[in-house]
Symmetry: C2
Subunit: 313 residues, 2 copies
Amino acid sequence: MDLDLDTVRTFVAAADAGQFQEAAAELAVTQQAVSKRIAALERNLGVRLFTRTARGAELTIDGQAFLPHARELLRVAERAVTSVRTGRRPLRVDVIASRGAATGLMRGFHRVYPDIELDVVMLFDIDTAVAAIRSGAIDASFRAVAMPGRPLPEDIESVRVLDEPLQLLTGPAHALAGARSVTVAQLAGHRIWMPGVVPGTEWAAYYDDLVAEFGLTIEATGPNFGSDALLDTVADTPALATFMGEQMRLVWPAGHGLRRIPLTDPTPVYPHSLLWHRDNPHPALATLRAHLAAAAAGLDAAGTWTPNWVTPR
Amino acid sequence: MDLDLDTVRTFVAAADAGQFQEAAAELAVTQQAVSKRIAALERNLGVRLFTRTARGAELTIDGQAFLPHARELLRVAERAVTSVRTGRRPLRVDVIASRGAATGLMRGFHRVYPDIELDVVMLFDIDTAVAAIRSGAIDASFRAVAMPGRPLPEDIESVRVLDEPLQLLTGPAHALAGARSVTVAQLAGHRIWMPGVVPGTEWAAYYDDLVAEFGLTIEATGPNFGSDALLDTVADTPALATFMGEQMRLVWPAGHGLRRIPLTDPTPVYPHSLLWHRDNPHPALATLRAHLAAAAAGLDAAGTWTPNWVTPR
DNA sequence: ATCGGCCACAACCAGCGGTTGTACCTCTAG
DNA sequence: CTAGAGGTACAACCGCTGGTTGTGGCCGAT
């Protein structure tokens, strides 16, 4: 069984017209073609959709039930096409990780502006994102930090939109597992494991600064086998802990007793910025920027830490 | 431009597999067929969806943006097909008029149980509805009243689920237009116009009883040109008023100054009942009945009027 | 440098889905 | 009652879409 959108369109036209002939005229085909399409659709679905009368065709109950689904199908097909049509396409935003803070911000935006069509993609790194912004392939990008000593191109604008506090993630047997909160100084001497942090990226620079300033021990070695494997290991290893953004949503392994512990004194935060092209005329981009600016106005930098090279607020 | 669902399915399979060969194997076609389908899709959309590499094909940014729409399209197509598949199909409910109280009840049900799939149809009269319930073409029907002296067949069960108060609808120049509420007795001598009430139906019987008991003047004559025409006429004719269910949502003609005036002493109510087949095993039907029973428990019959032949509460 | 894995292009062919022509049904008008 | 209008279905025909097999080219790994 496979629906054919042309046939579905024919069905909707016939249902609206109340007869095959008129639908055929609208669709610029012969009445016989419509008759055959509907017959094929009915054969495929295994139900009768119209009762043929002397002055047309009217929907059966099955046809009535099918009609809204058919309309929805055409709507979705239309949206799918416009999602890749250049010009008046949905706002296309790149987020850094599907469960991170950027996704949360976009969800919040969508709640406030449900009528603004959005497409979300995930690019590999900030260089790809900047190139995509310049080429117009995307309209905006959430990036955690700017690289030290490497300013953005002049035609790319950016603004800090969210500071996401870092939390410590430990297993139940970890020495700090019972703490309600932990100061950064207390972490000295504990092993912090951050696999998958690629040297040379903004993340590596961020943790390098954190280590240098507070004398932590961060092991960035080892390949990233995915967050599931990371969580399993942390849960089972009393001597290991890791960092994680406060808003990161996890597929929480049941019964592992993992703890999320806030960091204080100061609280290291991931600075999230929105990047876009100076000349991008997409109307929804202005709305997004205004929305995020309003949301960011409530941020409080007191007691937080970031490397000194990040984009200022 | 017209999407082909088979092609879209191929696109999703290729995106998931990361290469055309594996997608081809899953779809039981040759690699060349997949290649041609994707090429055709890209040509139709006017964008490149994959970048071909030596070890497969990975999504472009456009491809990433298109992917969720493609998945959605397949989901909707799947739902469309199941909506007419016998067995495990969505709960199919007949409502008496698209903007009436029954629709409101179903919306409330959908809010509480958003995961229960629903299809709503509108049948012509109670006889059609009963036949459809007995044949299994629909699972339940909202009907306003039972006919006097014509009990439901034994295999059809029903329960009162809502009493919808009647309101008076007048134009701005009507004698009662300024009233906050109107007693039924005050209506004596005023012309109430109810075009489109077909003699012999439950509606006709309802208004016959109302007339007989309170001495009103109801004109049921004339064809029904639709609610728009009715509203226009009522708005422009000082001597005319009509009845309307409290929950009826109207396409309110702007600037016509129409007034909805509650009726009291007593308040005539449309009794809405849910009808279903004794032996219908659809699990969602039990949920709907329980939901409506809970909602109906809060009804208060004090000060209301119905004909004495309606299904008791 | 060669091999393996993957995608694209070419040639071919079956069948889907269109067209025209016609039959049949039903309601209505004379 | 009959004839005509308006609507749908069936039959025959055919072009083109979309599959197949065969083959070549590209890229990365050994």
